[in-house]
């Protein structure tokens, strides 16, 4: 099913079911057609904003645990949410941990061929402008602008997480838009990079992490994006009492922050790659 058709089916499905919904969380076109951004729709008239295309990279399930109270408007009505394969796994984790009741949700699942990493795209074509449409056709990403139609091999423009995606299809949904897809990678190759890293000795690994974490500016964007980082404003990294971390700069505090982040996600992470 082509992209435009999927967007249309998506909009129609929500229109049909809107009577039971208080809120629809999906994606809309951002400030230009090269960007997609999350959208929260409470009026059926706004459903036309909804889009589905390879730029819809954001994992929307995170909003459910974070600011759900603020989104509750009418009792008894459900929340409609759009999920890709990876997003649906986060949703399952949140349901398992009782952050959201399955019965509160109307889930529209969309099999996903991968999302485009804008930075990689801009790197290949820095002068890209007046984009009309981005789509994936087989092994190519197709970008239509007002002037021309560009084709890129997907391994050059897809987000790295999408190139090693095992779960292109939603694992939980009420309605599925489109047909299920086959993963691009087999399970045995999934962790080859990690396995290679594991063979290096402790000192090398420590040096690697020190270098990587030293780049961290503790902006907490990683935490805010993570659908399972559910503490949000009460994050232990910013708490003064108890004071596990100071606001001091330096690798010591950065390292500890990432250790806490890692430990808090251990056994819960669904590898959404957000």
């Amino acid at each position: 099913m082509p992209m435009d058709e999927k967007t249309k089916t998506l909009q129609e499905d929500f229109e049909k079911n809107f009577a039971d919904l208080e809120l629809v969380i999906g994606w809309e076109t951002g400030f230009d057609r090269l960007h997609a951004t999350p959208v929260f729709i409470r009026q059926p008239s706004e459903l036309g904003k909804l889009v589905w295309n390879p730029l819809c990279s954001q994992n929307l399930s995170g909003y459910l645990a974070k600011n759900l109270d603020a989104s509750i408007q009418e009792d008894g009505k459900k929340i409609g949410i759009c999920v890709k394969g990876c997003d649906s796994r986060s949703l399952v984790a949140l349901i398992q941990e009782n952050f959201i009741d399955r019965d509160r949700l109307y889930i529209v699942g969309i099999p996903c061929e991968g999302t485009v990493d804008l930075r990689r795209l801009m790197h290949l074509k820095p002068s890209l402008e007046n984009v009309r449409k981005v789509d994936i056709e087989g092994d190519e990403a197709v970008v239509e602008t007002d002037q021309e139609t560009l084709r890129f091999p997907i391994e050059n423009v897809l987000a790295r997480k999408c190139l090693r995606c095992l779960y292109p299809n939603p694992v939980i949904y009420d309605t599925m838009i489109g047909t299920p897809l086959k993963p691009r990678i087999s399970e045995d190759k999934l962790y080859s990079a990690v396995e290679k890293f594991d063979t290096s000795d402790r000192k090398q690994r420590l040096a690697f992490w020190k270098t990587e974490f030293n780049r961290c500016i503790r902006c907490y964007a990683c935490r805010n994006a993570c659908p399972l980082c559910v503490c949000q404003d009460n994050c232990i990294a910013e708490s003064r009492k108890p004071k596990w971390l100071t606001q001091r700069d330096g690798i010591r505090e950065k390292f500890l922050f990432h250790m806490i982040h890692g430990l808090h996600l251990a056994g819960r992470c669904t590898e959404c790659g957000e």
């Binding site: 949000q232 009460n234 108890p242």
Partner: protein, 652 residues
Amino acid sequence: MRIGVFICKCGTNIANTVDTEAVARKALEYPDVVYATDYMYTCSEPGQEEIREAIIKNRLQGVVVAACTPHMHEPTFRRAVEKAGLNRYMFEQANIREHVSWVNKDRESNTIKAMDLVHMAVEKLRLNQPLFSSKVPINKRVLVIGGGIAGIQAAMDCSDGGLDVVMVERETTIGGKMAKLDKTFPTIDCSSCILGPKMVDISQKENISLHAYSEIESVSGYIGNFEVKIRKKATYVDWNACTGCGECTQKCPSKKTYDKFNEGLGSTTAINIPFPQAIPKRARINAESCLYLTKGKCKKCEKVCPADAIRFDMEDEIITEDVGAIVVATGYDMFDYSVYGEYGGGRYPDVITSLQYERILSASGPYGGHIVRPSDGKEPRNIVFLSCVGSRDASVGRPYCSGVCCMYIAKQAIITRDHLPDCNCYVSYMDIRSPGKNYDEFIRRAQEEYGINYIRGRVGKIYPKDDRLIVQGVDTLMGVQMDIEADLVVLATGLEASEGARELAEKLRISYDQYGWYMESHPKLRPVETNTAGVYLAGVCQGPKDIPASVAQGSAAAAKVQILFSRDTIETDPQVALVNERVCISCGKCIEVCPFGAIQWKTLRDGSQKAEVLPTVCQGCGLCNATCPPKAVQLQHCTDDQILAEVNAVCE
């Protein structure tokens, strides 16, 4: 904060390998410390007086004592600071004896470690908050689990003291193993004659409620206020209507049912009353062998029951009892004799366990008290008793001595010689253990007056020859091989933890050792207490013991309950978890991990849900704190910040 530090020399216990004066001098450098000294015995009356004086003179707000383990003297010092007007929790104790002077001889490194420990205590104390305990009322009812002789004794003593008692028994009758015994050592008095009146007392006491054929489903709550769910298993007979007349047992056609009370000697009917003196004397249908319940046809018992008590549609029922204390008296089971394949237990019908032999000896047993062989009903001419079957043998995982077998072998052999004077009794033993009042005399009587042949040495093999059994072993005193042609072999099976003991311990949150025996709080000084406050032990569930010791423990446990119930309230420990609601993210993980069920949801005025700790149920284990992602749950008196302060102090 103004902090005083007191370094104890503990005579020479600490001072020998720690420079206490240097530790005190160093302590003055730590933040907020305004006073520091060392003293010969800080725990002594003058030592405590010195603390009190220093608090007043130096206007101290917190005290650190570096001495022995807080297990020993924390309460002492807390009282001392309290007498001087401080809150008792404005005190910290550093252990520089068990953790320093007793474990290392190097004075220099010991002194440095002592300084570090004092430094940590000071840093923690700086973050201490005054805490206050509250009082909760005690429910003065006691639950006794197990209706054997230990449980009966505990229940009777509590009842006689005016307490309401709830007794739960797994079988359909109380009496336990003692009810199965023929006679008791060393007096050879009839077991059921001395037990029977006590069983009747249990049923007749108005302040004892007995739940027979019931098991503990779950236990929640805490000392003074336990909530116990009891599963009353389906008997298919309405016990309020049943009169115990036994008509049904006469007519029941399913006569091949395993007879548990008679240890499988002979068989019984599907509807059954275990023995005439059973308390309560009520029938139960064994659902596995009842023809109606298995094949849908029969109902003979229903037809003959004059009281219309049969209820084929009965189901398990769960009831709740609220109690303030629990006495566990769940007894034991016998070691499985078939583990020793070379003895043939389970294969040869005339190789039996000691408890089966008790049933043979018993006048109410399957053979009416006549000593005959299970295989052919003939009177035996030679009987061999084998000691230590499943005792003192690490190879079968039973390295412990069962404590009672030597004595009951002598008793059974004596009774055998009384019944059948021509029957030869042989006892193959490893050692004879008879350390009780009149016990060794009893063994000597068996050997000298009754002519019972004691042969020291282990039996290696038992095999059949014609209709007899050849018992082959070694006589280590004579240094010769022993071959005895026996008609009957009695294996003196050892004791092992009761089936389900471990599961019950987990429900009660008490600990057990590697064999499943319940752990007492202290092997010498707290023998009937457990480490869970309000739960006490009586009888063999704590470890093998004989009837007098079980009875003594039953009374001891009852005394502990009476001591607890002599007060109307108990003080709660304020060192418990506390939720900061503003930080709680309502993930509920603390509720899931709490082993005591001490955390529940609380709905705030805005409709949001937050975790709430029940301070009386919380045991202060800290699991919730470790689990809480934003650390909204903090353990009072041991907060994250206090631990971090200690870590920072030691890592400086």
